[in-house]
Amino acid sequence: MSAVTVFGLCAAAAVGLGLYGLIANPQPLRKIIAFNLLGSGVFLLFGIVGRRGAAAGFGNDPVPQALVITGVVVAFSATALAIALLLRLFQIAGSTTLNSRAAASPRSDPSGH
C-alpha cells in the first residue's frame, strides 16, 4: 500500500465529500467550505499524479506542483469573492438563503383566462 494509493483514495473520498456537501447543504457558507474541500481533493489528485511521475532526482513531478500552486491561489480568490458576495447579500437582505421563494419565481401569475 504505497503513499500514492493511500492518498489517492483519500483524494477521491475528499472529492465525493465535497460534492455531497456542495449539493446537500443549504447554507451558502457551507457550500463554499464544501467547494474548498472538493478543490483540495482535486489538488491532491494532481499531487498523486506528480508523485507517480517522480524522476530525475525529484520526488514529485514539478509541473503538477506548479499547476496546484496556481489552482490554490485561484480557489482562494474564488472563496474570497464568494464570501464578499455572501456578506453583502446578508447586509442587504438580512438572510443568506439561495433558494428563497421570492427569488425563484420572478414572474407573477397571469390574470385569469
Binding site: L9, L17, G18, A34, G47, P62
Partner: protein, 314 residues
Amino acid sequence: MNIATVFEIALAAVVLGLAIWTIAVPDTYSATVGFIAYGLLVALIWVRLDAVDVALTEAAIGGGLGGVVLLGAAARLRDTEAMTTEGPSLIVRLSAAILSASIAAALAVTILLLPDPAPTLAPSVVANAGATGMTNPVTNVLMAFRGMDTMLEKVVLLLAIVGVWSLASDQAWGGRPGPRHQADPNGVLAFLARLLPPAGIVVGIYILWTGADHPGGAFQGGAVLASMWLLVIMAGLVDTPPVRSRWLRLILVGGPGLFLAVGLGGLCFGAAFLAYPVAFAKPLILSIEVAMLLTIATTLGLLLAGAPERSAER
C-alpha cells in the same frame, strides 16, 4: 508495512475524519474550524508526497488565509446560520450521497488504474533548468516554462479585487474596506501584532529569496506578508487603506504589469513573448518575483479585508 505506511494511513484517516466532520456537523462555525484543521493536515500530506512548495502554499493560502476568510464570515453570519431550519429532504440527501459516492468510486478506480510507468515531465524540466539559472524546478515551471498561466493568474487575482470592490455601496466607494478594528491595547492580540510582524516580514522575504533554489517563492512569501499585515489591521494598530489610493492601485497592478512588460520585451527584442535572455534570466525573474510579492501580499490582504464599507474621510 513499514512505519511510514502506517503513518500515512493514520494521516489519511484523520484527514478523512475531519473532512466528514466538516461536512456533517450542524454548526457552521465548527465546520469552519474543522476545515482549517483539515487544511493544515493536508499540508502534511503534501510533504509526504515530496511537494514542499505546494505544502507551503496549501498551509499559507489554502488552509491559512482561506480558513481566516471563512472564519470571519462564519463569525459574522453566526446568528443567521442558527436560524436557518430548511434542509433538503432525506431523498435528496440520499440521492446526492449515492451519486457523489459513485463519482468518488469512479475516480478511485481510475487512480488505481493509472498507467505504469507514469509519464513525467521532470527530466525535461531539469534538462532545461539552465535557461533560468535557478534550481528550484517548480519556480522554473511557474516563471519560465508556464509563465503565461502565472501571469493570467495574477490578472485573476486583480479581477477578484475588482469584483469584491464592486460590491461596495455607492457612498462607500473609494473608502476603506471592512470595519475599524479595535483591540485592547494591553491584550494578547496587540502584543502579538507588535511582536510578530518584524519577524514575519523577514520570513516572508526570505521565502521569496530562497525560492530560486529551494522550496519557496513569491506566493508563499506573499501569503506570509499578507498575514502580518492583516494581524496588524485586526489589532487596530493601522487602518485599512482607502481603495482609491493611487499607490495602492499601482502596487496591485505592479506584479502582472512588470510580468507583462518583460514578456513584451521578449516579444519585441528577444526570442518570444515571455522568453528570458539567458544572461539576464535570473535577475529579470527575481525582479518580477519581487513585484509579484508585493502585489500578492496586498491582494491577499485586501481580499480578506472585503468590500469598502467606510468612506475615506473618517
